[in-house]
């Protein structure tokens, strides 16, 4: 954001206070976690690290993360009553303090569980202003800012997968702004994260899902 500042980065954003990092950024982390999970979770176990743990309550970080997991945006007045809204939506949210190691002071680790028992663990930090960065999905290192739409492709680590995916995106006119691949070990489960300038259309997502060695595809919109 710093290198392409608009008038509305200074006069804005419109947000629920009090803190762009501890409140607005926390909503965006929740929004991103929800998009990565891909469905409404039944349970969210949230670990708060550093400043999120020590001053989170006074800044409404707990409400903000919960609001994001319910699909609210940083300017939604419903953030104030997000815990009640979560109860009404049968989303069970718990908070604990945790030492997550050498990470940014404003970091949360969110473990999401569906009614069917599917689990995804997402970790991210609120790094200043309302800017955020998601740093981990399960055991994979990532760097997702939420500024651009993202395509997350889980696949088996084998030659040709990256080329196949990028060819599909090229055919559908989606320009790749950044790309990251990480894997558990050679030949094992791998994760490809592609930031694109344009949202990837459903047809392209369908083709990627059909590509050889691809096990799942998830679209995460800009938040």
């Amino acid at each position: 954001m710093a290198n392409q500042r608009s008038l509305f980065d200074i006069i804005g954003p419109v947000m629920i206070g009090p803190s762009s990092s501890h409140t607005a950024g926390a909503v965006r982390l929740g929004e991103l976690a929800l998009a990565i999970f891909g469905e409404r979770p039944a349970e969210a176990a949230i670990e708060l690290h550093g400043s999120f743990a020590s001053t989170g309550r006074g800044h409404g970080t707990d409400l903000a993360l919960t609001a994001g997991l319910l699909g609210m945006t940083p300017d939604d007045p419903g953030i104030r009553t997000a815990l009640e809204a979560a109860r009404a939506a049968d989303l069970r949210v718990t908070f604990t303090d945790a030492d997550l190691g050498e990470v940014h002071p404003n970091t949360a680790r969110i473990t999401l569980r569906s009614g069917g028992g599917r689990v995804v663990v997402v970790q991210g930090s609120s790094v200043g202003g309302a800017d955020v960065i998601l740093t981990r999905i399960d055991d994979f290192d990532v760097a997702i800012s939420g500024e651009l739409p993202v395509l997350i492709v889980e696949h088996h680590d084998q030659p040709g997968v990256i080329a196949a995916v990028s060819q599909i995106l090229a055919r559908h006119d989606a320009n790749v702004a950044s790309m990251e691949v990480s894997r558990e070990m050679r030949g094992a489960r791998a994760l490809m994260v592609l930031e694109t300038d344009q949202p990837v259309d459903d047809a392209a997502v369908g083709e990627v899902a059909q590509a050889s060695a691809v096990t799942s595809v998830r679209v995460v919109p800009a938040v």
């Binding site: 710093a2 290198n3 392409q4 500042r5 608009s6 008038l7 509305f8 980065d9 200074i10 006069i11 804005g12 954003p13 419109v14 947000m15 629920i16 206070g17 009090p18 803190s19 762009s20 409140t23 607005a24 708060l48 400043s51 743990a53 020590s54 001053t55 989170g56 309550r57 006074g58 800044h59 409404g60 970080t61 707990d62 409400l63 300017d75 007045p77 953030i79 104030r80 718990t94 908070f95 604990t96 303090d97 200043g128 202003g129 309302a130």
Partner: protein, 292 residues
């Protein structure tokens, strides 16, 4: 991109007629957005500011910690004060937005959440004093944005990076320049107003009690508005600050880098570590897990 220097902004104001018009013209060109759409977005921001002032003045906004709330109504309900009703109005409006922000209300982070009261305080008081038409008020908001953009390019806008001078100080510089354009001053006078405001707050520490955006942040929005009004009065009378705004802004950045980390939003210095500050912090900020 926003203007990276006041010199560049001033030259554009020559062509466009005012700093506000220059800011809108640049935003149109860079974003490919129509002028009317930019006016609409600025008008929406202005309305959020006005709503936050109105909400804060009801006196019902209380923060979760219980440290702030009710002071805006206290100031507003007093009879006209020492410096006249418009000064009171600015102070009350700035406190109102600060209190609404602390109570998880809706505000415009301009330049930040913690300093979101300075600009509405000054803008609303001055526009009421002058009976300014809406379009001029919207343009004044654009002026404030352009000044904030210059500060972002030459220094910083966050307390963590450069102390409170970067938040309340920047808000005051933005508000002072906006007030001068609203009052019919020249673009050069608006620049002097921004310099006069920022020089008055150079070195201001960011020392929030308990790390919360409450004490002293809420009150600092009001004192920031007062500095902005003093700066605008001087500039409109023809007072010229001898150091150009670009250099004042760079000086703020350099002072910010010299501030120890204890005075940059860590709650490890200043008012945060006074005996009372520490007592208030322990009483008002239980950890999230202790609450359950």
């Amino acid at each position: 991109m926003a203007y990276g220097s006041f010199a560049e902004l001033l030259a554009a104001a020559d062509e466009n007629g005012s700093l506000g018009e220059a800011a809108v013209a640049r935003e149109c060109a860079e974003s490919g957005t129509a002028r009317t759409d930019i006016f609409t977005r600025l008008d929406v921001a202005l309305r959020v500011m006005e709503d936050a002032v109105a909400e804060g003045l009801t006196g019902t906004a209380r923060s979760r910690s219980g440290l702030t709330g009710g002071d805006a109504a206290r100031v507003a309900s007093r009879a006209p004060g020492l410096a006249g009703p418009h000064f009171d109005r600015a102070i009350a409006a700035a406190l109102a937005v600060g209190e609404v922000n602390a109570a998880m209300g809706r505000i415009v982070a301009a330049p930040t959440g913690g300093a979101s009261g300075v600009l509405p305080g000054v803008l609303l008081a001055v526009s009421e004093r002058l009976n300014a038409p809406r379009e001029k008020l919207v343009l004044a908001l654009a002026t404030a944005g352009a000044i904030g953009g210059v500060i972002a390019a030459r220094a910083a806008l966050s307390g963590a990076a450069a102390g409170c001078q970067a938040e309340i100080g920047s808000g005051a510089a933005m508000a002072a320049a906006a007030a001068v354009e609203l009052a019919g001053g020249t673009p050069a006078q608006a620049g002097h107003a921004a310099s006069l405001a920022l020089q008055g707050l150079l070195g201001l520490a960011c020392d929030p009690v308990g790390g919360l955006v409450e004490v002293p942040c809420v009150a600092r929005n009001a004192t920031g508005s007062a500095v902005a009004l003093a700066a605008a009065e001087m500039a409109l009378a023809g007072v010229a600050f001898p150091i150009p705004f670009d250099e004042v802004a760079a000086a703020m950045g350099s002072v910010g880098r010299s501030l120890p980390p204890s005075l940059r939003e860590t709650a490890l210095g200043g008012l945060a570590v006074t005996p009372t500050g520490k007592r208030l912090a322990s009483r008002s900020s239980p950890r999230i897990d202790e609450e359950r």
